[in-house]
Symmetry: C2
Subunit: 141 residues, 2 copies
DNA sequence: GCTACATCCTCTAGTGACTAGAGGAGCAAG
DNA sequence: CTTGCTCCTCTAGTCACTAGAGGATGTAGC
């Protein structure tokens, strides 16, 4: 009664590209599905859910290894979920740091662009600021 | 009168790692410096400035190709700097978008972690939210 | 049954921006 | 003269895919 979903349909439904699905199978993130008589992959709804999980986690910036750990957790429920929590927390810290440094960068780009007098390259603030970190408004990034 | 700076010293002064300096030379971002009798690279202060420029631009997230364009501009001043301005503006837009999506992500991670009841994986919000994008607080990322 | 054409298969190689390691040569201090 | 650091070239590995070749299979219309 498995749904026998082709890779193309699985791709459309999950939003994961066809070669990427094959890649996930290759690296063992997605179990190898059974094949049809014509050697085509036959996915089922469980595979689709797993693909959606992976895609969402990737969009959130989790690395493949983190996703692998998360999937393993999902495969054996009934364990304490401290591991999942720890993975999410680690990711949160990364994200917060990345936001801070991007904000500093944005300010710097703003100043650069604002003060560009649209003259010759010789007086261009963009080039000047890049050439000399000391001219940054935010020393830390 | 050139300073004859070794690659190790150039690395320490510019903050660019030794193999990375060699890599930049290889891809033509940094001109090949003259060599000493013992076949070692002899950089000068101009190379150091160029390395600092590259490093700063990389920290700001500019891609190598963008840096290549910026360096070409720097090499021929006296041209209008509209190109540099355009490159910086494009980067600013990217950065702003990235900040927005990271903020959405942070909120989602916060909710995930907050509502994790530290119970079993079966009830874990982290896993649950990842498995179902519909549970995101922010539908767009 | 036949013809198009879409979809699928495997396999290899390429991307960006490095990073790591092997194996060897040069150089400076004690 | 030996020790140990720095340097050289070269190849291959990283991550997460992406692109393309070359061929097999499935499906819709006639």
């Amino acid at each position: 009664m498995a749904a026998r979903i082709s890779i193309g349909v699985a791709s459309r439904r999950s939003g994961v590209k066809v070669p990427t699905i094959r890649y996930y199978e290759q690296i063992g993130l997605l179990p190898s599905p059974p094949r049809t008589d014509g050697n085509r992959r036959a996915f089922d709804d469980g595979d689709l859910r797993r693909l959606a999980f992976i895609r969402h986690a990737r969009e959130l910036g989790f690395e493949i290894d983190a996703i692998r750990a998360l999937l393993e957790l999902q495969d054996n429920p009934g364990q304490p979920c401290g591991t999942a929590d720890a993975i999410a927390r680690a990711r949160l810290i990364e994200v917060e740091q990345r936001i801070e440094s991007l904000k500093a960068l944005k300010d710097e780009l703003d100043v650069m662009i604002e003060s560009c007098r649209h003259g010759k390259v010789a007086d261009c603030r963009v080039i000047e600021v890049l050439a000399d970190h000391g001219k940054c408004t935010h020393p830390r990034h």
